[in-house]
Symmetry: C2
Subunit: 204 residues, 2 copies
Amino acid sequence: MANRKNMDHAIHPILRERYSPYAFDNKIIPQNDLCSLFEAARWTASSFNEQPWHFIVASRDDQQDFQRILSCLMPANAQWACEGSTIALGITRKIFSANGKMNRSAEHDLGQATANIVNEAMSRGIYAHQMAGILPDHAQELYAIPQEYMVVCAMVLGYLGDPMRLPPALRERERYPQERHSLHDFVFSDKWGATAPFVIDRSL
Amino acid sequence: MANRKNMDHAIHPILRERYSPYAFDNKIIPQNDLCSLFEAARWTASSFNEQPWHFIVASRDDQQDFQRILSCLMPANAQWACEGSTIALGITRKIFSANGKMNRSAEHDLGQATANIVNEAMSRGIYAHQMAGILPDHAQELYAIPQEYMVVCAMVLGYLGDPMRLPPALRERERYPQERHSLHDFVFSDKWGATAPFVIDRSL
């Protein structure tokens, strides 16, 4: 697949090659790779080293488990996610275990752990497609997740499949260029909206 | 520095070597490296491709800027952060730009972008130390950040310094082993608290 990113600055190949495919091959991810993916999450930084991230994980080699987790995705997502190898729900603990106070970083730190899973996966030729389009209340009940935890997102993990097997609408999305705002729009310095000088200097 | 992680499974060197130092060398980070760090954030995945992340960035070669951003950290953090090369505040947009509705993934997606900055940095020998211990209201006012944005966290970026120059208490923390929960404690399958079979199988 041609790189569909219009990059302004060089970045590491793992980050450069990442995208969120719709077309997955239904090959199984070996157990040792799965362990390494969650080991990558494990060593993420977190506020007060709380490690608020938790994951519920199901692979297609256990179809009962796999159908259960698929039922937690919005139907439009389950439609293509069902071709993935492994699906994980991302869950975070809203309070600190030490004192029960609200953890302002709970979702942020889950996001970091998830990014590390995605990056470890890419280093192994495994792609991830994340989604916020889930049914969190259903998941909370189905898996008996205590109320102090929040189901935030899901991700499909697997190997690249043949886009020609996708429904036409998704097949087209698989070809879109990946679009992003410019660094000018989100890297500021002395006040809000003022692009940082190093971005301006390197854009001349 | 000896690796202070007790790992159960192999992970990519960028993730394996990462830690959050207190001792920084005050060398300047070249502009092209800084651009690549934020380019890594740019290509992060986000819910509806909203890209809610924003950063305010200051480097020590502009001391006025640098002192301003230091004033947004809790004093205990500013004490060692002042030795870093560059400091960034992580800010996220709480609502979707398309329809003004709340973005449930805003903090999560900022976390992912920040993890990608940290990983790009590590690939260039630049270390990051993140913190939630900031003064968000002060930052919001100081930089005139609109109310629909939330200041979530900060990170210090720089090169490793000499731990012997740290105050004794921080010097000790720099030597602690990095501790994490086991995969058994946060990777579940068919119900909450039940460790996923692939974790159990690979632990025998």
